[in-house]
Symmetry: C2
């Protein structure tokens, strides 16, 4: 997160999590960065999202982002909103910057008030841990049921030299982003304006974060924030600039990497499941079908059990509510063609089972109705998913 | 199933299931019965549904229904359709009735051809087991992963004496009916015409079978068939007749009983979960929200773990895509009010946990936006669900 020029980060344990894992993180930019964000469409938007939206609305720039895990500060009413504002104020005061340059994000249990004394003490301690090497601590501080940290940095060569884009994300359960996503943070030292960054983030979110699902449940706290410091020394990048496509491609690569990392680390998951749909009448159709299949509990359990039960894939395609010709569908499980023109094809079942035992599984569906395609990512449904979620609060 | 006058049934094991459980059933009426059916909206409709639709289309009457379990005869192409037709023909020949008086239903694995020699031999054997006392054997023959048989009979007093309505259903996984449902069979000795029976069945299905979900997956084989022999001696019942409301009420009671029985016996379920939504702007909204909540994997695992984690209920309401005011929602878990006007209410958490450990759990949601209400039924998500579906074919 701190590889792009100008960024520092840090994290510490302030007492929101019962374990000693870090639960409060700060991302800081030496200058006010051009910023953009996308938010959950769940009608119960959590308090920190309202506050971040307000900050961004003031001038399209952010210089700091404070994030806590262990408590979502959602469905907490007037007090919750006051608490999110107090977090923003405390961070602004600690850093000596204006409040509208600070964003707030929270993740964890819904419906409990934040223990603000612990949070305040934690924020005071953040200045001591903030550093250019603090990216890992920040990444730990945003995790809940996640098993692994999810971060990446890529570099794009431009006419004026290299530009860097880094990203971090958390998310393991209540993952079914709708026009927005779980917590995601993308930093860059490219020079881009807020409008360009916002339209790029919105477009890329649709084909990356919005194409993953772990359990079909859309969180109240989903948010992705992008910040660009402009300190790379590059010229301003915008659509039409010769380097824009390369920058856009790298930005999308970062978002897709993080989205897949969230799916792979879905609660209880043993494998990443990718569903590629081709031959759809339009992209919206392809996306809807890909998400329906990757989200099907029966497809997910079949992947867990390494059972090449393609009937479940077909049933999910058929119930998607999308235009599908029941006579022209092809399905492949990895390299194994199992259905052609909607007719079963004899295939090597033991070999397909072996393939399904791997840590990455790809299912291909061709509808033969048009040219549009889409890819969605998810994971298998396991005993461990049930265990985690049958005892989440306790 | 055979309590209404004129009906006989039977079932036997013909070899479609690996165990010795019955897998072929026959329902027979002494006279051609007024009949009606609703079918799955999955675009991959199984072959037997096409054949049954054809039979019903010919004259609105059925005299026999043959049902097999262990093989869905879905995604089986031209051969599958020929096999379903061959089943219809064999039953018609065995009973000496016209083919269009015979319906066909199948349930089980998708994408495998029926072993027709076994099926033909089984059909030949059905005449020997058909009897007025064969309802139980029929009910066993339609089960797959179901643990219990689901059947009921009620009696309605009319001016001309009693009328009986009986029903049987199967369904445990791939349960998320959409305008239709899993296999359901309703018999009656009331005198009703096919049109009246069809409109009654369609309306009742919307508030009963279509309001259950086990796993969000809509089957290729869902179908409910109703048959009325007219042998009760009652006058013809139709809307406007003084006894129509009582008949309609009893019919709905049977459908709701069967729908709840399917949810309660959902794959791996330890409890029935009922979600009541009130205060919605219209009935479609209430239904959509109730189904979203009862189908949420996180709500389902919380019910399994007896965790009064109401944040998951609220998150599901908020992602339903329906009109919801985020400031006016009440939620109760059984008798325990946990959210009022979208604010957390202190509640007796240990007592709520105790309540959630029961075999029937009801969640109440009031949106305070209108007068419409709806109820949906589902079950918890358990280790056993994962076990069953990770190894279904093997």
């Amino acid at each position: 997160m701190t590889s792009p020029k100008g960024f520092q980060a840090g994290g510490l344990h302030c007492g929101l999590k019962k374990t000693q894992r870090r639960d409060l993180g700060l991302l800081y930019c030496e200058v006010p960065a051009a910023a953009a964000a996308v938010y959950t469409l769940n009608v119960f938007q959590a308090a920190p999202l309202k506050v971040t939206r307000e900050s961004l609305g003031a001038g399209g720039r952010l210089q700091a982002l404070v994030v806590n895990s262990g408590n979502a500060n959602a469905c907490t009413g007037v007090q919750g909103e006051a608490d999110a504002r107090a977090m923003r104020q405390a961070v602004a005061a600690m850093l000596g910057i204006a409040e509208p340059l600070v964003g707030v994000a929270s993740t964890g249990v819904i419906g409990e008030l934040l223990p603000m004394e612990k949070v305040q003490r934690g924020i005071n301690g953040l200045s001591a841990v903030l550093s250019p090497a603090g990216g890992n601590d920040f990444c730990e501080a945003i995790l809940t049921t996640d098993l692994i940290q999810k971060s990446i940095c890529v570099q794009v060569e431009t006419a004026d030299g290299p530009v860097r884009i880094a990203g971090a994300a958390k998310g393991s359960g209540m993952i079914h982003p709708n026009m927005a996503t779980m917590l995601g943070f993308i930093t860059s030292d490219a020079k881009v304006d807020s409008e360009g960054l916002q339209s790029l983030l919105s477009a890329v979110t649709d084909s990356t974060f919005n194409m993953i699902t772990v359990d079909g449940d859309t969180s109240t706290n989903d948010m992705v924030v992008a910040m660009a410091s402009g300190l790379s020394g590059s010229a301003e990048l915008k659509p039409g600039h010769p380097d824009w496509q390369a920058f856009r491609g790298a930005f999308e690569y970062v978002a897709e990497y993080l989205a897949k990392a969230i799916a792979r680390d879905g609660e209880g998951a043993t494998k990443l499941v990718e569903v590629q749909v081709a031959g759809a009448v339009d992209e919206a159709t392809a996306r809807a079908i890909a998400k329906t299949v990757v989200g099907s509990s029966l497809v997910k359990t079949a992947c867990f059990g390494a059972d090449a039960n393609w009937g479940r894939i077909v049933a999910a395609v058929g119930r998607s509510g999308q235009p599908v010709n029941p006579d022209t569908v092809d399905v492949s499980i990895g390299d194994y063609l199992v259905l052609q023109q909607s007719r079963p094809v004899p295939f090597d079942d033991p070999a397909a089972t072996e393939y399904l035992k791997g840590h990455e599984v790809t299912l291909f569906i061709n509808l033969h109705m048009g040219e549009a395609r889409a890819t969605a990512w998810g994971c298998d449904l396991t005993y461990e998913y049930v265990r985690i979620n049958a005892a989440y609060r306790t």
